[in-house]
């Protein structure tokens, strides 16, 4: 053996998967053919075909929305909160029972390492359904007045970075609040949502309560613009979110948007240094950096700049890139060629703009889409890689001298989704947290998620919150007296 660190392959078996050759749309409790041109979903790690996926056209969207409306009127709105909750509990349990299968499917279709889909994504999916299951019969306590009302049919469009987790973030609160759903997973990652549809069948969820339409951007557009939906929830790019906000203006549809970010991860000189380095790594290299709240801007205090960057490089050299299904893989595949092109383009711009590029040495597999962990040091605040969301494993390093400078640099972005603070000094952490314009702030940790914890952004990172009590408000009409006479 040449090196212990070249751990022998430890692939998770795909034998647990029982995939069909092709998948239809899930409408009214059944898989049906779509009327658009079907498309293939591939593994981004190998570019191999996984399955053929139906493509929903406008007529399919009509059918699905009508099914959701019928289910809302005839079934779901008539059910007690307790019974809605029981369905959600059933779903949570089924997700747990089929957790490994779902994790394998997710890693296969998305390219993320199995250790993440297995230890983060899928456990959180189950947790999300458990959490909101318990809310279904307790809506009176959500702070929205007595017996807050469901909105009706929710149109939900989700991204490819956490396919099943984003589905859970959308569907669990919607159903708990009493809405029915038409959801469109991302074009490149439909697989786990379709397995989830099978779980809904196993749970015997009433037909039409959840409908899943696969397709591309036009399907999503037809869905959010459909006149018979009452609620639109979107997670994705700020550009698309902006377009959706315009398209629903004046319609009375309630809208929540969870969009892009360019989070600052602020490391002070009194930080717990080894944990900060781990937090930086987790902040930007978790899920190949395909994370809207990724800590893509490292703001490090000047007097520890070189120390931190040195340690970071040393740590990155131990990251293992490769087969997403290998249990020892830390960095998986980039989700699509299109995304890879964008990461490459922005990285080239970063280099052209004069930042110092450093890339961890790792072997790049021949097929599939890969991008080695990359750091840009001495990035200026005006550089495009410090401004634009790269959505890949690329970290921009900037420095600051005082807490006030750190705060002003951190806030100097149209985004406001998340931020990190590393320091051993509690009073400084709390004061900095107060000043940061971001919806989620991690102090001495990063990229933690929990169904009880509200998530969402300030400014152009969107509006509304997902998770926690606040996440329910997005799917309910408050019955608190509006216009109380004084």
């Amino acid at each position: 053996m040449t090196s212990f660190l070249e751990y022998a392959p430890a692939p998770e078996s795909t034998a647990i998967l029982n995939l069909k050759d092709s998948y239809g749309l899930f409408i009214d409790g059944e898989f049906v053919a779509g009327h658009g041109t079907p498309f293939a979903t591939i593994s981004p790690a190998t570019e191999k075909h996984i399955a053929t996926i139906a493509n929903a056209n406008a007529a399919d969207v009509d059918t699905a929305v009508a099914a959701a409306r019928r289910a809302y009127d005839k079934t779901w709105s008539k059910l007690s909160g307790a019974d809605r909750g029981k369905y959600l509990f059933r779903i949570a349990r089924l997700v747990q029972e089929r957790a490994r299968e779902l994790a394998v499917a997710e890693s296969l279709d998305n390219g993320k390492p199995i250790k993440e889909s297995r230890d983060v994504d899928i456990p959180l999916v189950a947790a999300w359904f458990f959490y909101y299951a318990g809310w279904a019969d307790k809506l009176d306590y959500a702070g929205l007045g007595a017996a807050p009302r469901a909105l009706g049919v929710a149109a939900q469009v989700i991204p490819w970075n956490f396919p099943l987790l984003m589905l859970a973030w959308k569907i669990a609160p919607a159903l708990a609040a009493g809405n029915t759903v038409v959801l469109k997973p991302a074009e490149t990652t439909p697989l786990s949502a379709l397995l989830f549809a099978e779980i809904l069948q196993q749970a015997e969820l009433p037909a039409g309560v959840v409908n899943i339409l696969t397709g591309a951007g036009d399907t999503g557009q037809a869905l959010v613009q459909h006149p018979d939906v009452n609620k639109v929830a979107f997670t994705g790019s700020t550009a698309v979110g902006r377009a959706i906000a315009k398209s629903v203006a004046g319609t009375g549809k309630k809208l929540t948007l969870e969009l892009g970010g360019k989070a600052a991860n602020i490391v002070f000189d009194d930080a717990p240094i080894d944990q900060a380095v781990e937090g930086i790594v987790n902040g930007i290299f978790f899920n190949q950096g395909h994370v809207c709240c990724a800590g893509s801007r490292l703001l490090v205090q000047e007097n520890v700049h070189h120390e931190v960057v040195d340690r970071l490089k040393q740590r990155l050299s131990t990251l293992r890139m490769g087969d997403p299904l290998d249990k020892n893989t830390d960095i998986g595949a980039i989700n699509s060629r299109e995304q890879l092109d964008r990461i490459r383009e922005l990285s080239d711009i970063g280099e052209a703009e004069g930042a110092e590029r450093w890339t961890a040495e790792c072997a790049i597999p021949e097929n599939g889409f890969w991008f080695a962990p990359t750091i840009f040091d001495n990035v200026s605040t005006s550089s495009r890689i410090a401004r634009e969301e790269i959505f890949g494993p690329v970290l921009s390093v900037l420095t600051f001298r005082t807490p006030a400078e750190a705060i002003s640099k951190a806030n100097n972005t149209p985004y406001g989704l998340s931020a990190g603070i590393w320091s051993d000094k509690g009073s400084k952490i709390l004061a900095v947290a107060d000043e940061l314009k971001a919806g989620v702030i991690w102090a001495n940790t990063f990229n933690r998620f929990d169904p009880a914890s509200p998530f969402g952004g300030f400014k152009e990172s969107g509006y509304g919150r997902e998770g926690g009590r606040h996440g329910l408000a997005a799917y309910l009409t408050s019955t608190v007296l509006q216009g109380a006479a004084l």
Partner: protein
């Protein structure tokens, strides 16, 4: 011997000062019976721009004040308003053509609105925020914070309408640029005089008079405005304003009533969730 009245010049209220419109324009404010009441300043887009600058400058300090302090500042407005009750009754009576009793009722309601919202300053955080029981060794708390700058199209109901949209927006620490009722702007400017002598820092409330249809689009599209309150915009092309606001993902409240509610406060706040590790060792 009779006293010859000294009429008031009604100007804008920006950054704690009373400038004329930079455009030099005014428009006639008339009584219900059509008789001339005053020349009010007709604000331009540049006045709106200046108001946003003033609001931005004032925002961190106002948001940084304690809730207790902001509550007292709002309560102080009620006190001053009460002291000038007669003046407001007279103004409302002449502008809106209502009886003195009806005008008095409106002024009282406006005073009570300040008092009601004043009390929320140090409480809305408790009601709208909470600790989160996450499954891990973390302290985790969600608290609402002011959104930033709120641009407001005030309802036509002169004083009460104005107070009902301004008070909830500022109580959390936002600063506002408000377009007063076009037809009944006088009590808005008189309120500004109250504000100028109150403890409200300059720039926290900026009041523009003139054409909402002309100014509102500039505020709706202004990148440094964080939220848009269209409560009084029913008669405008408000969907266009909402579309313009979407360019920077502003929080938008669509036209509707203006009754007092916590929702008006929380609607212009952002929930911030902070995680921190916990360990004994």
């Amino acid at each position: 011997m009779t006293h010859l009245a000294v009429p008031k010049t009604y100007k804008l209220y920006i950054g704690g000062k009373f400038p004329r419109s930079e455009s030099g324009r005014t428009y006639e404010v008339v009584a219900r019976d059509g008789s001339f009441l005053a020349n009010a300043a007709k604000a331009s887009r540049k006045d709106a721009r200046d108001a946003v600058v003033a609001a931005r400058a004032a925002q961190p300090g106002w948001a940084g004040a304690t809730g207790y302090n902001r509550g007292q500042v709002l309560y102080r407005i009620a006190e001053l308003l009460e002291g000038r009750r007669a003046q407001f009754v007279l103004e409302i009576t002449s502008t809106e053509g209502v009886t003195a009793a009806a005008a008095g009722k409106q002024v009282d309601a406006a005073i009570d609105t300040w008092v009601w919202y004043a009390g929320w300053a140090d409480k809305y955080v408790q009601v709208a925020g909470n600790a989160n029981a996450v499954s891990g060794p973390y302290f985790n708390i969600s608290v609402p914070e002011p959104t930033g700058i709120v641009a407001i199209v005030a309802p036509p109901d002169s004083l009460l309408g104005l107070v009902s949209v301004v008070a909830p927006a500022i109580v959390s620490g936002n600063t506002v640029v408000v377009i007063a009722s076009e037809t009944a702007p006088l009590s808005a400017i008189s309120l500004a005089e109250v504000l100028a002598t109150s403890d409200v820092p300059g720039g926290v409330i900026n009041i523009l008079t003139g054409s909402a249809a002309e100014i509102a689009p500039w505020l709706a599209s202004h990148a440094d405005v964080n939220a848009l309150d269209l409560t009084g915009a029913e008669s405008l092309e408000w969907v266009d304003l909402q579309i313009a606001a979407a360019d920077t993902l502003k929080r938008v409240r669509t036209p509707g009533d203006f009754g007092a509610s916590l929702d008006r406060i929380v609607g212009f706040t952002e929930t911030k969730t902070v995680w921190h590790t916990k360990s004994l060792i």
